[in-house]
């Protein structure tokens, strides 16, 4: 039994954390949030230089050739820093799609640019408000030409290409800077991460070679690293809150000495630890290509979404008045938590998916 990261992975974690502490304090997130910039180009460049953007990309395509455990480690640190970069869209989802379902030619075209950070990729799957099945896409790919509207697309305003789910069940690769594409940046609940509407009107596109019918599997694979990003955010929110309640005094004693506060922190800690355990299981299943991934991804996704949301909410409340000010960082967490918990589909939809899969397994057993 070794249900933990290795020493090497922990070293990678430390290096990543140190770099981010130096280069991506919460002020960097705030800067993007308060400005018109959709993301931090400087941090994106730094991440490229450190090789994070090509973590899972084989060396032959210019990547670091690491596995998904290393990706999970880096994602957690990205989450801790609330790094304002399109990591989840490009490094997790788009990279995974090309790597897993692309032809050799497709890999050769996209992976080196993804690894270098020159291109940002994203997934364009959702077409409407509500929790509709991802299989319900109306956007159509026919004769190399893609038409339809995707909204919202995470990081769709800054991405160079998108993986687009189609009515035919394909995952289409589309150059977003090319012809037949109109896009519009939309207001984001977390302005440190961006979001867009994209209209395709006969845009040139090709299907990922092995992508047909794989949207659901792609989401499973993406959900695990994103869960680590969420876990990192939740953990950091908790740590800052704990520190605050220890330093803040009322009635001559630290706020953290009152049982009401202690018990709330204890409950929150339990939720985050359970989420961590589920995320670890996801990482194990993903890195081993285990069939359990279909269930493990749901566990990791729901657990980390709910605990990051909770941690951010408690963070504001336990900070009292200052927690509600723009000046304090609580709202950065509050916004990011909700953004991440919805950007790959709501927790409710993942619960539904989980029961489908548990049922299927019980029936087959």
């Amino acid at each position: 039994m070794n249900f933990d990261f290795s020493e090497d992975q922990k070293l990678l974690q430390q290096i990543t954390r140190d770099y981010l502490a130096e280069n991506a304090g919460l002020a960097v997130c705030r800067e993007v949030l308060e400005s018109d910039a959709p993301y931090s180009t400087a941090l994106w460049k730094g991440a490229a230089e450190l090789g994070w953007l090509g973590t899972t990309i084989p060396e032959e395509y210019g990547g670091a050739g690491f596995g998904h455990l290393e990706l999970a480690v880096i994602a957690e640190e990205i989450g801790r820093a609330l790094a304002p970069i399109p990591f989840s869209s490009s490094v997790v989802v788009a990279t995974e799609a090309v790597l897993r379902f692309g032809s050799d030619a497709q890999k050769k075209k996209y992976l080196p640019k993804l690894a270098s950070g020159e291109w940002i990729g994203t997934l364009a799957a959702t077409e409407a408000t509500g929790q509709n099945g991802l299989e319900a896409a109306k956007t159509s790919l026919s004769g190399g030409s893609l038409s339809g509207t995707k909204i919202p697309v995470a990081d769709g305003d800054i991405a160079n290409f998108a993986i687009v789910s189609t009515a035919e069940g394909d995952l289409a690769l589309v150059d977003l800077d090319g012809s037949g594409v109109t896009r519009e940046a939309l207001g984001s609940f977390d302005p440190s991460r961006s979001v867009a509407r994209i209209v395709f009107d006969g845009a040139p596109a090709e299907a990922l070679e092995k992508g047909r019918g794989q949207i659901s599997h792609l989401l499973d694979r993406a959900a695990v690293p994103v869960a680590f990003e969420q876990l990192g955010g939740a953990t950091r929110a908790f740590e800052i809150t704990r520190e605050f309640t220890l330093g803040r005094y009322a009635f001559g004693r630290p706020v953290a000495s009152f049982q009401g506060i202690k018990h709330r922190l204890a409950d929150l800690w339990c939720e985050i630890e359970l989420a961590r355990s589920n995320a670890y299981y996801g990482a194990w299943a993903l890195s081993n290509d285990d069939p359990e991934l279909a269930i493990a991804a749901c566990l990791a996704r729901v657990s980390t979404s709910e605990s990051f949301d909770l941690a951010a909410r408690e963070m504001i409340q336990l900070h009292g008045g200052v927690g509600y000010t723009w000046e304090y960082d609580c709202h950065l967490f509050y916004r990011r938590a909700k953004w991440l918990s919805l950007a790959l589909g709501s927790p409710a939809s993942w619960k539904d998916r989980l029961i489908d899969r548990v049922e299927a397994r019980q029936k087959s057993a």
Binding site: G187, R313, S346
Partner: protein, 413 residues
């Protein structure tokens, strides 16, 4: 058991209705939600003044006050009836609420005759706006832990320090203020209560930006501000007792989130938004959640009716009112969160292209402030536990020692 007015109440309601019909402005469809009173500009201020003057002229400025100062000595239930009728019309933000609801009653209770004559009539007519300066950065839930100082110098007090969470400071003429006049006394004994001219030299007002970018509150800095001793309310060192009067009146005036607890909006959204190709309202999980919200919001509404019943009988509602804020605060936040999640991934879009969801997002960003203002969850639970249920008070480590010796931060060893 009925929801009807008594004959006396009905008569009073008719009187209020008649005056309002003749003098008030109807609601408009484009009235915007402004949960924290964050959008007050000069035009709005002018509207406030005009409407307040008109109410004062008609004798509706401050119903519960004594007739000799222009009130109508209305009963608490009459005051509620007035508010119910008033709410049926379009009203400017309640910028006089703090003055009339908290400052006025305190001056009427503890002020000298001279002080009453000086401040009360102008307050009532809306010529002067008042604010309250109690909280400090290091004195939130522990209000009596405040540190801003007042030192006597001839006939004036010299004031230094910082206040926070002051609603309306930027357009206020007067403020009520509690200061530490003796740091060697035990905590509650070293406080004195003043009225300060907000236009005094040495006062600097900085708006606080909230997490939703609104600016409903301010920080107020005092640097060698002079307050004449004639502006002192109550005796030196008796400030806590005076402040209690203000706080009792505050607790009664803070509401529970109003429209944000509106489940009708959510049910409408659940009919419009789809889950797996069917209206969300057909989904059993959504139905269960809607039912939970509906049941809680109705429970809160009917609890309010029980409070009104007590008022109607001439009883004073007590600390039970904390229930509404504790339960209501959490509920409206849950409700807003559920409203966002109903949209699925579209819940991350926060702009005009997504109006239904934006409504919930705006509330989700406004509500944490409502939850904290007027008492954190812990403060409210303590109030219920101690004052309603009669459970023992907290163990206190700050009693019986000089205020300056009460720990205010971690030991610096």
């Amino acid at each position: 058991m009925d929801f009807n007015d008594t004959p006396e109440e009905a008569e009073f309601r008719a009187e209020a209705r008649a005056w309002l019909e003749a003098n008030a402005t109807p609601h408009r469809d484009d009235d915007e939600e402004d949960l924290l009173g964050e959008r007050i500009d000069d035009k709005t201020l002018a509207w406030c003044r005009e409407w307040q003057a008109k109410k004062a002229e008609g004798g509706w400025a401050c119903l519960t006050w004594p007739k000799e100062v222009g009130g109508r000595e209305a009963t608490p239930i009459q005051n509620v009836i007035w508010k119910q009728e008033l709410a049926k019309y379009r009203n400017p933000p309640d910028i006089y609420g703090i003055g009339l609801g908290m400052c006025g009653p305190t001056i009427l209770t503890h002020g000298t005759d001279e002080q009453k004559q000086r401040w009360i009539p102008e307050m009532m007519e809306g010529q002067q706006i008042w604010c309250q300066l109690f909280s400090e950065p290091s004195a939130g839930s522990d209000l009596a832990g405040l540190r801003s100082s007042a030192v006597l110098d001839g006939d004036d007090w010299i004031v230094n320090g910082q206040k926070i969470w002051t609603t309306g400071a930027q357009f206020s003429d007067w403020g009520i203020l509690v200061l530490r006049s003796d740091p060697n006394a035990v905590k509650h004994a070293g406080l004195t209560y003043f009225v300060v001219d907000m236009h005094s030299p040495g006062i600097e007002i900085r708006p606080i930006t909230q997490i939703n970018r609104g600016q409903g509150f301010n920080e107020v800095f005092f640097t060698d501000v002079r307050i004449p001793d004639a502006n002192r309310i109550g005796a030196v060192g008796d400030g806590w007792r005076v402040a209690i009067t203000t706080l009792m009146n505050e607790r009664a005036s803070i509401g529970g989130g109003g429209g944000a607890g509106n489940t009708a909006d959510l049910i409408r959204a659940a009919r419009e938004i789809e889950i797996d190709g069917r209206p969300a309202i057909e989904n059993a999980a959504v139905r269960g959640k809607l039912a939970d919200f509906y049941i809680r919001s109705k429970g809160l509404q009917f609890t309010g009716n029980r409070t009104l019943t007590a008022l109607s009988r001439g009883q004073t509602p007590g600390p039970e009112a904390s229930l509404g804020k504790l339960i209501g605060g959490v509920m409206v936040q849950d409700l807003a969160e559920f409203g966002i999640e109903l949209a699925g991934m579209a819940g991350i879009v926060h702009d005009a292209s997504n109006p239904t969801t934006s409504l919930w997002q705006d509330r989700f960003l406004a509500i944490p402030g409502l939850r904290i203002a007027g008492g954190t969850d812990e403060v409210l639970r303590n109030i219920i536990a101690e004052r309603v249920l009669g459970l023992p008070p907290e163990v206190r480590l700050d009693k019986g020692i000089a205020f300056k010796d009460v720990p205010t931060g971690p030991p610096s060893n």
